[in-house]
Symmetry: none
Subunit: 226 residues, 2 copies
DNA sequence: ACTAAACATTAAAATTCCCTTAAAATGCAC
DNA sequence: GTGCATTTTAAGGGAATTTTAATGTTTAGT
């Protein structure tokens, strides 16, 4: 776990750095906003902890700059500015969490765990897409509904995957043709209808609540019925 | 944006639900932990807001159960339990954020924005067009007025979409023929009148304030009456 | 108030869209 | 190449949508 701390107050830095290192984290420290920005741009971190009041660029501008540059790792703002409006400005400038000084160290640690859980978890947890009782495991390429295994062919799998990833959205045949069949314009074929029928037979036929619906003239949706 | 609120205190629910709906969020409500779990398992949400003290399963157990079941959308715990240890327990049971009651509503909204920013890969918009209490979701191709769902066919949808996009402007039949029916000149048909009638039946008939008006000799306007 | 034009409404006709089935083509392993 | 599974094409039928057409109502101008 790599963490960047941006803070000019030596005492706070010491406290955080020591605490984090006890949890086996690698900690980099920047003492002003510019240095923080440079470090964050050049290296990959699991988390940035930043003060708002900083020499050079302040923490809010730093957040915005980082986000504008496409840097997406979690940012926790840690500051003495404690009014509700301060918090709103902080969060809206791109931070993921906001903790007001003085704080208890164990709360900081819990918030750090919450923020970093995702990035770590995503490596370990299985790659499973879900809607209602229908599950799709992208690693094992297996699909099941209500626990019953469903065997799909490659095309059927791609099609269903696209539907699950865009569940709730009505997807036009033109879009499916482009994304699943890689054809840009209609070639007067009905493959899509045939494949929707195949998928339906497998995921919906034996079940009461149908998931794959057609909106005539618009496309298909995968969703729970109302 | 779909949000699930799990809370047994009616007043708090009212406040949150109303505030979120003003921001064009779809809000589902569960009044106890079990119902919350069932809704969260069956549907896809962008965020769950849950109280800790709940009838049935409490908020902490709910978090753990949801995470154990592979449900990964953000959870915000909202509770009166404000000690640091409460927060730590909450965050460590799988929640992403923890807000102590009483809170200012605008802080809740800012935290919601921060939590959902990520999951909405495309912040670009929830893709909703609106006029008065009439809403049109371009993704789900669904339309509602004052919360009541309205089913439209493809042509009706296109027509209404054109009206909403150009609300307040008087649109001639010639323009509609060109934009919606792709014909450049009049073929002595009355399809447009028929379809305006269809749309009116669905969006205006059951409501007091009519939105789709005709300006004889000029065309149609979608607007609030004066 | 009367008339012609513009629009609204309704029902039936025409068409499009989609589902389904089966057969043909393709790809793949042996 | 043969046989099997997958993918694509083709065709028929049914239902929902779209259009036409006929009739009723409102509006604007005289």
């Amino acid at each position: 776990m790599r963490i960047l701390v941006i803070e000019d107050e030596i005492k706070t830095v010491q406290l955080i750095k020591q605490g984090l290192e006890e949890q086996q984290c690698e900690v980099d420290v920047a003492y002003d906003g510019l240095m923080g920005f440079q470090l964050a741009s050049r290296n990959h971190y699991n988390l940035i902890i930043s003060d708002i009041i900083l020499p050079g660029i302040n923490g809010l501008e730093l957040c915005k700059k980082l986000r504008a540059n496409g840097i997406s790792f979690p940012i926790l703002l840690l500051t003495a500015l404690g009014t509700t409006d301060d918090k709103i400005i902080g969060l809206d400038s791109g931070a993921d969490d906001y903790l007001v000084k003085p704080f208890e160290f164990k709360e900081l640690m819990a918030r750090i765990r919450a923020l970093t859980r995702r990035s770590i978890g995503s490596i370990q947890t299985a790659n499973v897409l879900k809607i209602a009782d229908l599950e799709m495991d992208l690693d094992t390429k297996s699909v099941s509904r209500a626990g019953n295994e469903i065997i799909l062919t490659a095309k059927e799998f791609s099609l269903l995957e696209y539907f699950i990833r865009h569940q709730g959205r009505v997807i036009s045949k033109a879009e499916l043709a482009e994304k699943i069949w890689d054809v840009t314009f209609d070639t007067g074929t009905n493959v899509i209808e045939v494949y929707v029928n195949f998928v339906r037979k497998k995921i919906d036929k034996d079940f009461d609540t149908k998931l794959l619906h057609t909106q005539i003239g618009m496309g298909y949706v995968l969703k729970m019925p109302n």
